[in-house]
Amino acid sequence: MGLFDRLKQGLQKTKDVLRTDLRDLFQEGQILDEDQLRQLEGRLLKTDMGVVATSAIVGKLREEYGGRTVDVDTVLETVKDTLKEQLAARNDEQEHSDVNDPLSPLNLSPAGLTVILVAGVNGVGKTTSIAKLARLLISSGRSLVLVAGDTFRAAAVEQLTMWSQRLGCEIVTRPSGTDPASVAYAGCDRALEAGVDCVIIDTAGRLQTDHNLMRELQKIHRVIGEKVPGAPHESLLVLDATTGQNGISQAKNFSEVVECTGIVLAKLDGTARGGIVVPIRQQMNLPVKYVGVGEGVDDLEPFDANWFVDVLFDDGP
């Protein structure tokens, strides 16, 4: 099954509840008026992309097509193109992702150990995303060690241990309550010793406004940087697709302490569209690297802006 179908399947359930089919909105030959623009605004806002990004699109349509008769295809193209533009990288950065290589979004260390740090607020799906990512790495022939750095939440270590057993990879754990930075250190140590390709470090969920916990995270980041030069090679922020405008604050505050390199957008299989990644991309140039499209361990896909936008407004079968 191709990626597009998988994504579509993931989003399929969504369609029955919330139709984002823009074709319903505009009718061929009608004059584009304020009422229609307002409805479009509503649909865009409901993806959580926020007032600024929405106003940009609506404004563009008003400017280009306002008061004129509608050609549905060109209007839709404009909407999609604007969105794609908003999601595209700035500064001519080459962030190409290759369709056939699911690991292409990752910045893997050419020689030696690649360290991946995963952070996020509580309950966004960090541990599950790590399991999925591990699965992806293992199935493309990389060896890896997991590090259970969430020593705070009850049974979080057990949760990741269960995943490691299912995936058949090594895991470094310490008893609950241990300083997470020391667990991360021990994990890197073990990974270097075992000579594996990758190490993925789980961290406890924390609200981005909790000063002390954010400092703790900063310490983890610093410690692994001291242990492995250039680490972490990837510092991924897991975002829940249902998150609203608070996602911006999450991205900002987490980037401040762990210099995020990308986002894993989890839980995209519900009715939420995850539009919050649009303002995050615009304000901070932080790319989405993977999307979680289901509860299965294989349901993690590399993100592609074109597909994302197409699927968001896909007309469906």
Partner: protein
């Protein structure tokens, strides 16, 4: 808590303060209010309805003719916010005899398992014995998590291996609970599920039918965006939810979900989760929330929290001491500890009207706890004799205290000076009426209470005549001016 939305609304409403009210600038201003609501994740349709309702009232004669139109509009926005989120009933109907069954449901990662623990802790404090039932067989280690939580609060927990089915876990759990007559409440922790997953929703409906819980509570992440409406609606359609518990409200989320969920489903919000610890569950009060949204502070919430944590007798004794001028460093330390029990300082200060903004504007305020801890350390390093007689601390004692607490001697000096000034002021304040006291607090905060370098000054007392009440002075001066005017008039004739 709701600072985001508060900030937005404050900005939006400030236009009204500036200009005279006309119909067109009401619309413009309400447009800004709408934008603020949308930025706060209030659902698009809910926000539009809200604005429509407010604008109908605002444009009416009542406002334009009222003496203070701006206040009137703030009043309307406030009232509508309360109406949108209320009325609320934060009680849980606990059966007098027999078991009460509560079922928690929600999306993945909304905080169900933690909330189970919080609810159980709350019920236990109210004198019931709750039992937790781990019906989440999906997520790895969810059962372990619930067991750990149950241990922490010392309540029974019923579990079965993950190979069982949720229904049989619940049924067996109920049987188990009935065997122990002490258990009054059973809380079912169900697996998180997507509202569009027909299979799992069907399973939940089946649970609801067969177990027939007395209350179905939906756990909802306050950071949810526009989608909050869809999931809440789907759960409500499937289960007839009795109440909502909003979680993760301790972050900087704008919490618009609170408005939308209530507006769309009509299900009341019963509790809010404001921290990861198991005692961080509060009753939801729409008035307090609306006050917060409009930047009026949440005094009721503060008082409630204080009542929970502060020993009333102790507090009264302290107050008496203050008034008598016998307030010592020992008492000061006790007070600081009580305050710390109430929760993080930042959080508390935000609940005080007028101080909320100050906290946000003051990056130095980043960690008031640290200062408190340092001060406590210094007091700890004193002997009991020194604590009770701070004036006895001379240079050598001061150096010893500084060394003992790891601070420079100047810090100790500062502390002593501040304490001296403070106890003087407290004595003054104890003699004041409520109004004067409020003014004194305000002066204190404007005078840089939050600036670590600033000092609280002791008001100079006139040596011979004793301290002078300001109001008295003002009245006397006023009288003198009046008399002088009269005298001038008389002389002209």
């Amino acid at each position: 808590m709701f600072e985001g939305i508060t900030k937005g609304l404050k900005g939006a409403l400030s236009f009204i303060e500036r200009s005279r009210l006309t119909e067109s600038n009401i619309h413009e201003g309400l447009g800004q209010v709408r934008e603020a609501l949308l930025e706060a994740d209030v659902n698009f349709d809910v926000a539009n309805d809200f604005i429509d309702r407010v604008s109908v009232q605002a444009v009416g004669d009542r406002v334009l003719k009222s003496i203070r139109p701006s206040e009137q509009i703030v009043g309307i926005v406030h009232q509508e916010l309360v109406e949108l989120m209320g009325p609320v009933d934060a009680s849980l109907p606990i059966q007098r005899d027999g078991l009460t069954v509560l079922m928690l449901c929600g999306l993945q990662g909304s905080g169900k398992t933690t909330t189970c623990g919080k609810l159980a802790r709350m019920l236990k404090e109210q004198g019931h014995l709750p039992m937790l039932v781990a019906a989440d067989l999906q997520r790895p280690a969810a059962i372990d998590q619930l067991q750990v939580i149950a241990e922490q609060i010392a309540v029974p927990c019923y579990t079965e291996p993950a190979t069982s089915t949720p229904l049989s876990v619940c049924q067996n759990g109920l049987k188990e609970a009935k065997r122990n007559p002490e258990i009054g409440v059973v809380i079912l922790d169900t697996a998180g599920r997507l509202h569009v997953d027909d299979e799992l929703m069907g399973e939940l409906e089946q649970l609801d039918r067969r177990i027939q819980p007395h209350q179905v509570l939906l756990v909802c992440d306050a950071m949810t965006g526009q989608d909050a409406v869809n999931s809440a609606k789907a759960f409500n359609d499937a289960l007839e939810v009795d109440g909502v518990i909003l979680t993760k409200l301790d972050g900087d989320t704008r919490g618009g979900a609170a408005l939308s969920v209530k507006a769309v489903t009509g299900v009341p919000i019963k509790f809010i989760g404001v921290g990861e610890q198991l005692d961080r569950l509060e009753e939801f009060r729409p008035e307090g929330m609306a006050d917060r949204i409009l930047g009026m502070g949440d005094v009721v919430g503060l008082v409630q929290r204080a009542q929970e944590q502060i020993d009333t007798d102790e507090a009264l004794a302290q107050q008496q001491k203050m008034m008598d001028g016998k307030f010592t460093l020992e008492d000061f330390r006790k007070q600081m500890r009580m305050m710390r029990k109430m929760g993080p300082m930042r959080e508390i200060m935000k609940m005080i009207p007028g101080v909320g903004g100050m906290v946000d504007d003051n990056p130095d305020m980043e960690n008031p706890e640290e200062d408190l801890r340092r001060i406590e350390g210094m007091i700890d390093s004193m002997t009991p004799h020194e604590r009770n007689n701070p004036e006895r601390i001379d240079r050598s004692r001061r150096n010893r205290i500084a060394k003992g607490s790891g601070n420079p001697p100047s810090e100790v000096n500062n502390l002593l000076k501040q304490f001296d000034a403070m106890s003087g002021m407290m004595q003054q304040m104890a003699g004041m009426g409520v109004k004067d006291r409020m003014r004194a607090v305000k002066e204190m905060s404007e005078g840089g209470m939050l600036d670590p370098g600033a000092q609280v000054r002791k008001e100079k007392t006139r040596s011979k005549r004793g301290s002078v009440d300001r109001d008295q002075v003002r009245n006397r001066k006023r009288q003198q001016r009046k008399n002088a005017r009269k005298a001038r008039k008389r002389n002209r004739r």
